[in-house]
Subunit: 349 residues, 3 copies
């Protein structure tokens, strides 16, 4: 469904430069877009590709307009505008409502209008599935689960008993919501399981990446607040709370009972230890390890970048003697101070 | 099913203080429990919440009894007792025995009395599924698999051909048992697959977290001994052996052919390299990397905690020159020693 | 199906020493093999087990032949030859062609001759499934997916809309191909989803481990070239390209838009940050973090190994003051230089 540049400009509040009757039907990169696509310039690193673009038009800031060889849609927020244009041109696939004949739906479960349940899905008893919800092929939904309107579960998602998921959420394949938290009491060399009797509550507009796991609480609930975005292969342990609009990139993790504030950004592979309190607006950079609570917004780092192996090894070996090295430095400082004292005495004599 | 405090005290060997006729029907945290719940004090960090609890009773050690405003169940092991009380009050959901009509069971597979196979599950041929076993919705069990009595597979678990799982195990959603190990021979710039012909043997009372993967052996078996507890998103490579009653927290991993001893504790995100031997009673702390065998019980660490970014960067840059810094210190020490020698000579002259 | 040593020698170009009529039916380790098994010596660490082996024969290099107490198959590449022998003795299980009655296949999907679709699988509309392809139990294949001849999908693999998979690929359980990449634009404290409209293209002879995730591109495709081997629980973000014959071990990851060269080796737990360019023939060692592009082949490292906890702590504490320590060393150097200058002046006077 092609859309004219004029329509895009009006709908998304852009200033149009060029022929408004040109129609586009997809988005493209500056280098890859053809004359049926609209592109964008959000990251200045791609500025040098602007002059040669063959896109129908480019979404960009006013300051780059002079360099644009084609039509432009000028806006102070080109990336957000691109996101909205792309969503208009490539809307989520419409799914035929209804329950596939191969799916199983338990007693007392209620599906809202327009909800769709894919092939081979299994929904337990007493669930409340909201209007327009999509439950993908092969999903398993436990008893008593609630899923809010317009949420979309990709194929092969698991949501266990009693979990509550808000509206407009997106859960990708392999996600597991509500498995038991990891809790055991030690008793004479063996481990006794702590029953995990809490639940999981997920707010509205949450997106959860493929094969990510969010455990149920031990007693109270694990909570993911509104607007949180979680990438693939992320681990959220029991009793965690993730504040609204926080993002967590792939392979990151949060250990049990830790609270993460609002609008935090946790980069790929970063982990936050258990029973901590991380305040709002904290950025944790790639692969960092947080072992103490953080009460001041800001950026926190903890990763050493890889080096050519022999160089790395030379330094890594020294690290093993860093304490001794510091002691040696202290000894040198003392010797110098003693000498300086002697010198002074000599000078005075 | 409410239980009186007297019954709990008798069943779990506690000393009861307060009205034994009070009945409780759930567990709760010190701060969250209402008058129908029993709570516990195991971690001294929560001691300050004891005085204000509204629980019906608290499981605690004798030394805290004086601070408890409600009835108490006194025991030297409050956490273990809490685990047992919680299990009594919230037993695993009973599952109706039998094979769901949508499930598929292969030829020659035998199900023990009371076993249950959920909707959309697929069980191969020649399997032996023990008494009381639960195979959750959407599970896939390969040919010739054995699962011991009372084990519970959550929905969407995969157990591939020939794997053997003991009794009373718990496997959470997304677990994959018996995928091929990662083995390839290098041949002229390409990789030739090493067929993975070994199996997986899992002992009794093992719990395995969501989306965790345990590969089959290359020739012999990958072995998880009795009582091992493994968290979510953990990787166990081919030919690994995990000793009895060892615990592995989320996102940890063990590379091929490594043996982990008994009663070890491997914290979140820690990894153990391949072909190592880790003795019994070793603790590996969060995100540590073990690259050598360990033959002495004890605690091993290897993670640098995150710092405020500018501080971290200042130190990280210095790390890249740590070897040079150590050499410079050595030069300073030599200069001082030379000077001291000269001084001595001067003094002697 | 037993095979004689003579047949193995002829088929795989080995020099046979010993009785060529001996038949073997399996492979075994040097220590575990019985008289019906052929073993191999590829890693010199196992050389000491050679003298006591009870195998029917051993595949080894000429230089070890003298130590072999049984028949031998001599080759300069014992590991590759072992791989080929093992594949001959333990071929992939043959699967009965056809679609299991419980599976669902969408309109317009075409299955090549000999293709097999397992129980509870769900294949979308308009797919092209090549000759001899195996789609395991519980797999979900989206609309318009193409899978090349002889590829094997283990149970519970997910391949989403439009993904293209080459020939002879092996995908292990829980793999997710084509979930949305992690892309959001920031708009006034909230995140706006960037529609992920690209695809995933996977070459021939690619193997992908259990629960690994490979996201679709944001606009263009995520690409895995021929012969790439990926282990379990690996994350490949959107727009990534992995060059031919590269291997990635368990729990490693590549962030968005990064290109990895050909014949690279990325060890367990290593991560490569986003928008980087890694050239051909790069080795990244265990758990390293790559944050800059690499344009020279070679080995790159970045992990500090675990130490006994008190030792580690002593050094880790010093790391927090490494910059200050370097500054103190500089001050000492200056003081010494000043003193040396004074000394020289003294000497000159």
């Amino acid at each position: 469904m092609p859309v004219t540049l004029r329509e895009l400009a009006e709908r998304f509040g852009c200033e149009l430069h060029g022929d408004g009757e040109i129609a586009v039907s997809r988005v493209g990169t500056l280098s890859g877009a053809g004359p049926d696509a609209v592109s964008f310039l959000a990251n200045p690193a791609f500025r040098r590709q602007l002059g040669a673009t063959r896109a129908a038009a480019v979404i960009l800031e006013e300051r780059y307009r002079g360099e644009c060889p084609v039509a432009s849609l000028v806006t102070p927020k080109p990336y957000v505008t691109y996101a909205r244009v792309a969503a208009l041109l490539a809307p989520p696939r419409t799914v035929e409502p209804g329950v596939h004949p191969s799916a199983v739906v338990g007693a007392g479960s209620v599906l809202g209008p327009g909800a769709a349940v894919g092939p081979q899905a299994a929904i337990g008893a007493g669930c409340r599935i909201g209007a327009g919800v999509v439950v993908g092929a092969g999903c398993v939904i436990g008893d008593g689960v609630e899923i809010g309107a317009e949420s979309r579960l990709a194929p092969r998602v698991t949501v266990l008993e009693g979990a509550r998921i808000g509206e407009r959420c997106i859960l990708h394949p392999g996600v597991v919501i509500g498995a038991d938290g990891f809790g055991f009491a030690h008793d004479g060399g063996q481990w006794v399981k702590i029953p995990q009797t809490g639940g999981v509550v997920i707010g509205n507009d949450v997106e959860i990446g493929a094969n990510t796991t969010i455990d149920r609480g031990a007693i109270e609930d694990t909570v993911i607040e509104d607007g949180v975005k979680i990438d693939n292969l992320v681990q959220i342990a029991h009793n965690v709370r993730i504040g609204a609009h926080t993002v967590m990139a792939g392979m990151s993790g949060v250990a049990g009972s830790t609270r993460i504030g609002r609008r935090c950004m946790i980069a790929g592979g970063a982990v936050v230890s258990n029973a901590l309190d991380i305040c709002d607006d904290v950025v944790i950079t790639i692969r960092s390890i947080v072992t103490r609570s953080i009460d001041a917004p800001g950026t926190y780092s903890g990763a050493l970048p890889a080096e050519v192996a022999p160089e790395w090894r030379r330094n890594a070996v020294r690290f093993k003697h860093l304490d001794a090295l510091a002691e040696r430095l202290r000894a040198v400082e003392r010797a110098l101070a003693r000498r300086a004292g002697e010198q002074e005495q000599d000078d005075e004599q």
